[in-house]
């Protein structure tokens, strides 16, 4: 599609063979914002229908993983948490990691999972990944209730000292996590159209990635060396550290790597959206 022009109430779309170059088509996505909202709502409605605990799972998941981390990394391995109470450290970290990993996993199979829908009706395909991403952000919002409860206790007892002034920055960090996850996800989705086996790689890869990110440990625990450099290059690392610094008052922030992380996020989003839009135009012929 080359151009969408509206002049004096008349409308023109031209459909042409695949053309070169980048097309994000974000304007069109904006026109379908109601669909994004409806799909997000539908995902919640459908996921928790006919389950026993329903939306309580949104809170239970990070609670259970935090307890496991407390046992494994706290009690057994005795990995430090930079002075932050363990339960709070693990809960905040795994909730934030969940935003990234859920955005990625939910989108890694976009084309194959929606082949039927995409094969029958046109709408901007990015609607699906964006709504999946919103689902992960909303889940984090719900988990914040528990985080807030824990924080009240620890702030009153004087065990943590959050940087309240910077709290307005938190939504930006969460959105960055979600966008980064979605970008990786749709990039993988574009490749899985051709190579289905990449999906298995994703399942394993996301676990490895978590340990290459300071989720169950702070970066300050990591000794200098090659491994630390690799972890610092990981774009999720600085987001986690900045997030904990603001929310919990402890974190090691390196401005250069923060800039790198932000740059990677923007670049990756642009590339992945363009690749996704390109694959979308002919994927119906391959799936």
């Amino acid at each position: 599609m080359k151009s969408v022009t509206e002049y004096g109430g008349s409308y023109h779309v031209q459909l042409t063979p695949l053309e070169k170059g980048f097309h994000l088509r974000l304007k069109e996505l904006w026109q379908y914002r109601d669909l994004v909202r409806l799909m997000t709502g539908k995902t919640f409605a459908v996921t928790y229908q006919q389950t026993f605990l329903g939306p309580l799972w949104i809170i239970l998941n990070p609670v259970v993983s935090s307890l496991i981390y407390m046992f494994l990394f706290g009690y057994v391995a005795q990995v430090g948490t930079a002075g932050i109470p363990r339960i709070l450290f693990y809960f905040v970290s795994s909730a934030a990691w969940g935003v990234f990993s859920a955005s990625m996993i939910a989108n890694a199979n976009t084309f194959v999972a929606n082949a039927h829908l995409f094969g029958k009706v046109y709408f901007p395909r990015l609607v699906v990944p964006v709504s999946n991403m919103l689902v992960s952000i909303i889940k984090f919002g719900i988990q914040l209730i528990i985080i807030a409860g824990l924080m009240v206790a620890y702030v009153l007892s004087g065990e943590i000292h959050p940087l309240w002034v910077y709290y307005p920055l938190l939504p930006i960090l969460i959105v960055q996590l979600a966008v980064l996850g979605m970008s990786f996800g749709i990039l993988i989705a574009s490749v899985t159209v051709k190579y289905r086996d990449l999906l298995s790689v994703v399942a394993v890869g996301i676990n490895l990635w978590m340990y290459a990110t300071p989720v169950v440990y702070p970066i300050s625990e990591m000794p200098n060396g090659v491994i630390r450099t690799i972890i610092m290059i990981n774009p999720v690392t600085e987001i986690m550290e900045v997030l904990r610094l603001i929310m919990l008052g402890e974190g090691e922030v390196n401005p250069a790597f923060c800039a790198l992380s932000a740059g990677v996020t923007v670049l990756l989003f642009v590339i992945s959206a363009a690749v996704f839009n390109r694959v979308e135009r002919t994927f119906a012929d391959t799936v």
Binding site: D34, V121, V193
Partner: protein, 449 residues
């Protein structure tokens, strides 16, 4: 190729297709594993010539659409017909932006609603109302637009009572009603439909077709309609294109287009030898098969073209496998638009002894109006009970054509679209004096005011 005729050329063009081609790869398409690609790459390094050959064979391609040029004006209702694989669905997929063309350009001067399927994106656990929102949004409506039209949509769907029930409890007909109602209420200028009304009940189907036809007449809607059901094509479309092997072979009047399509899909042989392809439900037949209908020819024609004042004389060669008593034949007659219209039974029965015999069957053609017909032949055994005891059947048995008769008695031109294919015996009109008297008395005694 003939050009569209007799349509108002004043209205502006709304769809223009220029040199459209779509290439598909034959065989195993696309989706593979990483391993397969690496293997292929290794092979190519080892033996470039052979690998290239294999590669070429694997990537042999064909054109599903091979150079389509088409111009549609606002308010036209265009039928697209053709055999399976002629390119109809591919054309609709490109116009509805599901897939991109390989070559050529499509210009759309209006928003498109595509109904390649009814109720795409419906979720069974959600209610009818919730699905209207979701489906409407998928089709491009905003929440405000849907809110505004909600009442109209529900009324049109005739599902007022069930609108807050999860649609997994809907019947397939209700599903179609809901889906069509949403799509119909979109503010789009172009509607693309692919056989979507087939499931709904006839009443609803008729309502949809007439609403679409009316909207098109006003110039509000332009419709592209694909169907194998010729009677709905005839009801809706004022223009029709015939696709064959990715090319437009006819473009113009609907009735003519259907003739062209039927000419492509069925030639009318005067001699037929029956094989397994004529017995699709072979398994059922074989259990009771006692006779084999081998071949057919027409006694006095080289071409099966008749007038309805004549008889078709058919020679049927049959092989009996055993001694058979009381064998009858039945002809089930279909009109060219694929509707079964009538059945003829043999008036008597024949006895067969093992071996091959030729049976001559005379079929009167009175009552059939002009057009093309298909006949399925069934041989049955009459054992005194009213049950249908089939011993062989062939589908299709044969085709024939009835030439229009020019006859003073046919004082009106036969309108197939609304009158059907059979002309029953004429009605007798009478009006007696007493009757007239009685009627006038009755009207006098009617209370006034």
């Amino acid at each position: 190729m003939e050009q569209a005729t007799g349509f108002d050329n004043e209205r502006p063009e709304i769809i223009r297709v220029t040199g459209l081609k779509k290439r598909y790869r034959r065989g195993r398409i696309g989706a593979g594993t990483l391993q397969a690609t690496i293997k292929e790459w290794k092979e190519r390094r080892k033996d470039p010539e052979r690998a290239k050959d294999v590669h070429r064979k694997k990537n042999e391609s064909f054109y599903a659409l091979d150079g389509i040029d088409l111009s549609v004006r606002r308010g036209e209702t265009v039928g697209i017909i053709g055999k399976n694989g002629a390119g109809k669905s591919t054309l609709l997929k490109i116009l509805s932006r599901i897939t991109a063309p390989t070559e050529g350009v499509v210009d759309l001067y209006g928003r498109v609603t595509s109904m390649l399927e009814v109720g795409t994106g419906f979720h069974g656990d959600m209610t009818g109302r919730e699905n209207i929102y979701l489906n409407g949004a998928i089709l491009g409506m905003t929440k405000a637009e849907i809110d505004e039209k909600m009442d109209d949509i529900i009324r049109f769907s005739e599902l007022e009572e069930f609108i807050d029930t999860p649609i997994k409890r809907y019947s397939s007909g209700m599903y179609v009603k809901l889906g069509f109602s949403v799509a119909y209420h979109l503010d789009s200028e172009i509607i693309i439909m692919d056989e979507v009304l087939a499931v709904g009940d006839i009443q609803f189907q008729r309502k949809c077709l007439s609403c679409l036809a009316e909207a098109a007449r006003d110039g509000k809607r332009t419709v592209l309609y694909v169907s194998h059901n010729m009677s709905t094509v005839r009801q809706l479309c004022n223009r029709c294109i015939v696709l064959d092997k990715g090319k437009i072979v006819f473009d113009g009047d609907t009735d003519k287009a259907i003739e062209v399509y039927l000419g492509i899909s069925s030639d009318m042989p005067a001699q037929i030898t029956y094989g397994p392809e004529h017995r699709p439900d072979d398994a059922i037949i074989r259990a009771v098969k006692r006779i084999s209908i081998d071949s057919l020819s027409f006694a006095d024609r080289t071409e099966p073209v008749f007038r309805n004042t004549e008889e078709a004389v058919i020679n049927l060669t049959c092989t009996a496998e055993m001694e058979l008593k009381n064998v009858g034949f039945r002809f089930e007659v279909w009109y060219q638009d694929n509707t079964k219209i009538a059945t003829a039974l043999s008036s008597g029965f024949l006895d067969f002894s093992p071996g091959t015999e030729t049976v001559t069957i005379r079929m009167p053609l009175a009552h059939l109006e002009s057009g093309r017909y298909r006949v399925d032949i069934i041989a049955f055994l009459f054992d005194g009970s009213p049950n249908d005891f089939r011993i062989d059947s062939v589908y299709p048995g044969f085709y024939f054509q009835i030439e229009p008769v020019i006859d003073p008695e046919h004082y009106l031109k036969w309108d197939h679209r609304h009158w059907g294919a059979i002309r029953l015996d004429d009605l007798h009109l009478e009006m007696s004096f007493e009757e007239r008297e009685r009627l006038s008395e009755k009207s006098d005694s009617l209370p006034i005011g």
